[in-house]
């Protein structure tokens, strides 16, 4: 790769590590992206269909070649079906992750998960209450068992409405009922999407897209919400805590262990094993000063939010972290783990371990974690990592870490506000804070790494918009120094005043990708406090560098919940102007919100500011001209 590394990433650790990777002849995601160019235009436009074996088919967007698949499906149907399947895959990924947590909860209740416990019994009881489970005078394990069972029922087909949709404002639920998109069962909606998109079933592109909304809602108000809440019950509800970010969190004189993936079920056990005095003593015996655990991507976000564990990087940094030569062991669970990592690690002493029964990777050793063996397995693996320290070659850790603050759960945000959302509402009413925006999602080599997230966040806080972040976006802004209290110096005067008084950063780290639901819950709390609907609030969402199917599900449940959402990269839908029109305009009439696409974050910021000012005006608040 001879190009200027500045075109790939804005981060200095990224640029320096790319140079190192180059001299070590490590292939990176950017290189593979360039090797893929040009990418297939039919697929980019959503115009290729592989659903059945009369195909594959493709539609000529210029109108002269074939306009129908073998079955007769036209561009609108094919684009809508493809998008529907992306939503289904994304919802399935989050929701299955949620199910794994519910299974741990059930095992904890039965006493069959040594090492795991109920860390937040208050939250357990609160949520059990929402599920109408008797809590008075009952033992914690009994409540946990009943809650796990009741949550499993949310996955099935026995309900008309998911339990936790009750948290959404009544007006919002009415909109869902009226549009016929109220989610009924988490697995049911995904399963129904796969049915509808089978050849010869739902060939109404509008009804397909509506079901796509329902499928996404089953994630946002179902699978992801359960994942987030059960994680809090098991591992503790996040509270603001200081931490460090970027590749500089790796230590030259310590055993470095990295956890990568999404599910805290594995990383929490590794976290505990890393505190074991015997293992720390062993590390010292091997000449290391200690054991340094750091995270990547969302499982890193989970540990960061709950324990202040440092974060080495986000999605596009995962190969480069290995290229430091400083990582003794990387443990992965599932989602967003590039299958290239095993190959990268083979050039260094890094041991790669896959841990989930449903995720295998080339060049990794498979050591399966189950609730009953996790504690023991974590001890064994951390020991092996410590033993690996002796095999370390030359290391290159080119930067110093950046300070950041993480762990703003809804409880923590309201806590910082003094117990109620009232002060935030007052600040919005007074116009000091214009509104709030969520910046979420992944990295994608199509957008300069971190440029989308960081530029958008900078522009928004400059315009007095409070920013909340999750996932890889949250790591990007953390690395740029925006998740620290000192970052108020980049904020507009109103936001600076409020955040300064509350001693919070202008960009709040709310957790991992499943934790996007925390943003929905916060928005619902604001809407409920104002007696209005989410779509009336001066808020917006954005995924400036998204790549994954999960991001499609997230963006869709945001819009279906009434949040205007701006995407960076274009989803594969340009093959149908009808679909584009419905998603960018038509949905306004159904859910009170719509999508926009704008890869340039400076322009995306303008779109969001304009939207927020318009919503302020509609609420009768002062509104700035842009």
């Amino acid at each position: 790769m001879s190009k200027s590394y500045k075109e790939y990433t804005i981060t200095s650790d990224g640029q320096l590590m790319l140079k190192k990777a180059d001299s070590d002849q490590i292939e990176t995601v950017w290189e593979r992206y360039e090797n893929q160019l040009p990418q297939c235009g039919y697929c980019e436009m959503g115009l290729s269909c592989r659903i059945c074996n009369m195909g594959p088919c493709r539609i000529d967007p210029f109108g002269e070649g074939p306009q129908k698949g073998v079955c007769g499906a036209d561009a609108d149907i094919i684009v809508a079906r493809n998008l529907g399947r992306m939503i289904a895959a994304g919802a399935a990924a989050h929701s299955d992750h949620g199910r794994d947590l519910v299974e741990v909860l059930a095992d904890v209740a039965k006493g069959k998960a040594p090492g795991y416990s109920i860390s937040d019994p208050v939250k357990l009881k609160k949520i059990a209450g929402e599920y109408e489970i008797e809590t008075d005078g009952r033992e914690i394990p009994a409540i946990a068992g009943d809650l796990a069972y009741a949550m499993m029922e949310d996955y099935g087909t026995r309900k008309k409405e998911l339990t936790l949709v009750k948290r959404a404002p009544e007006k919002r639920r009415e909109i869902w009922r009226k549009a016929g998109i109220m989610p009924r069962g988490i697995d049911r909606e995904t399963s129904e999407m796969m049915h509808r998109t089978h050849m010869g079933v739902d060939n109404g592109w509008q009804s397909l897209l509506l079901h796509g909304m329902r499928n996404a809602l089953s994630d946002g108000w179902g699978g992801s919400l359960i994942a987030s809440e059960v994680s809090d019950i098991l591992f503790g509800t996040p509270l603001p805590c200081a931490n460090q970010v970027n590749i500089g969190v790796l230590k030259t004189d310590q055993v470095n262990i990295i956890v990568h993936g999404h599910n805290p079920v594995v990383s929490e056990m590794i976290f505990l094993a890393c505190q074991d005095t015997d293992l720390i003593n062993l590390a010292k015996l091997k000449g290391a000063k200690g054991i340094n655990l750091a995270g990547l991507c969302c499982t890193g976000n989970e540990l960061m939010a709950r324990h202040g564990i440092p974060m080495a990087g986000n999605h596009l940094m995962t190969e480069l972290v290995i290229a430091t030569g400083a990582v003794e062991m990387m443990l992965v669970d599932y989602q967003c783990i590039m299958p290239s990592l095993g190959k990268t690690a083979s050039c260094y002493h890094t041991k790669m371990i896959s841990t989930s029964d449903k995720a295998r990777f080339p060049g990794m050793e498979h050591r399966e974690f189950h609730p009953e063996n996790s504690q023991k397995m974590a001890q064994e693996l951390v020991k092996e990592a410590v033993e690996q320290y002796e095999n370390r070659g030359k290391v290159y850790i080119p930067v110093e870490p950046v300070q950041s603050l993480g762990g703003f759960s809804v409880e923590a945000v309201t806590g910082a506000l003094g117990g109620t959302p009232e002060p935030l509402i007052e600040a919005i009413k007074a116009g000091k804070i214009r509104g709030a925006a969520g910046i979420v999602g992944c990295n994608n080599p199509k957008i300069k790494h971190d440029y989308g997230h960081v530029t958008l966040a900078q522009q928004l806080i400059k315009n007095d918009i409070l920013v909340v972040v999750t996932g890889c976006a949250a790591i990007a802004t953390a690395k740029a120094g925006l998740n620290a209290a000192e970052a108020i110096k980049y904020a507009g005067p109103g936001l600076k005043e409020i955040c300064g008084a509350l001693k919070i950063p202008p960009v709040l780290h709310m957790g991992s990708c499943v934790d996007n639901v925390r943003i929905l819950i916060l928005a619902s709390a604001l809407a409920n406090a104002l007696g209005t609907d989410i779509s009336d609030l001066p808020i917006a969402g954005s995924a400036p560098e998204w790549y994954s199917e999960k991001a499609v599900a997230i963006a869709t449940y945001f819009v279906a919940s009434g949040v205007y959402t701006v995407l960076g990269p274009m989803p594969p839908i340009t093959g149908s102007m009808n679909v584009i029109k419905l998603l960018t305009q038509g949905l306004d009439d159904i859910t009170g919100a719509s999508f926009a696409v704008e890869p340039d974050p400076e322009k995306a910021a303008i779109l969001i500011c304009r939207h927020i000012e318009n919503k302020r005006k509609a609420l009768g608040l002062d509104s700035r001209a842009l």
Binding site: E7, Y8, L37, P38, Q39, C40, G41, Y42, C43, E44, M45, R58, D60, P61, F62, G63, E64, G65, P66, K446, I447, K448, Y451, G452, P569, M570, T574, G575, S576, M577, I580, V597, E598, P599, D600, P601
Partner: protein, 199 residues
């Protein structure tokens, strides 16, 4: 005489032409078995990526006069008049790379090919699907391209269409019809993505 005409503005970068070309120049003529052949058949058309990752099908222009033919010292390159094909005879090719040095389009590759005696590396490029044409078939790449970025027609026909299209762009604003609005939109997004890389 009908020729392959390239219309890059319609190229979707799907590379189906490449697959079809390779299969047309395989022993088995089957997608499933061709990949198992030795040598593995290779395409003679190469889809490149433009400034923002858009596709461009690059194939031999069968120039006249052809620089490659002039440069070839061993007399391996000649023209087949029936199909107006600049043809490389693999038996005469001495693998000296003179032709590829002078080819302005970089379409000549060097590798093993079933047309050459076993194991010999030879200069390979588009042969206009000469054999298919003799059998009354159109070139494989054209057959594969569903967006009409490649057409097989009288060049004068293609030029006439292009002239009319250009004339339309001179018509008043209200008359302009985009080739495909979705494709324009996709390219607009890809252009911005490329631009912000240099920010």
């Amino acid at each position: 005489m009908k020729q392959v005409v390239v219309h890059p503005e319609y190229c979707l970068g799907c590379m189906q032409c490449m697959t079809a070309c390779a299969i047309a120049h395989s022993q088995t003529h089957s997608l499933f078995y061709a990949v198992l052949e030795d040598p593995v058949p290779k395409s003679r058309i190469h889809v490149g990526a433009g400034l923002f990752g858009e596709g461009f099908p690059n194939r031999c222009r069968h120039c006249d006069p052809a620089p490659c033919m002039t440069a070839c010292l061993s007399g391996a390159i000649s023209r087949i008049p029936e199909t107006n094909t600049v043809y490389i005879d693999p038996d005469k090719c001495i693998n000296c790379a003179s032709c590829s040095m002078v080819c302005p389009f970089g379409v000549i590759r060097y590798h093993k090919d079933i047309s050459a005696i076993s194991g010999k590396i030879t200069a390979v490029k588009c042969d206009n699907c000469h054999e298919r044409q003799i059998q009354g078939q159109i070139p494989a790449c054209v057959e594969a391209c569903k967006s009409n970025a490649l057409t097989f027609e009288e060049p004068s026909e293609a030029m006439k269409r292009k002239t009319n299209k250009t004339a339309c762009t001179m018509s008043s604003e209200t008359m302009k019809i985009p080739a495909a609005s979705g494709f324009d939109l996709l390219n607009a997004v890809k252009k911005v993505q490329a631009e912000i890389k240099t920010c």
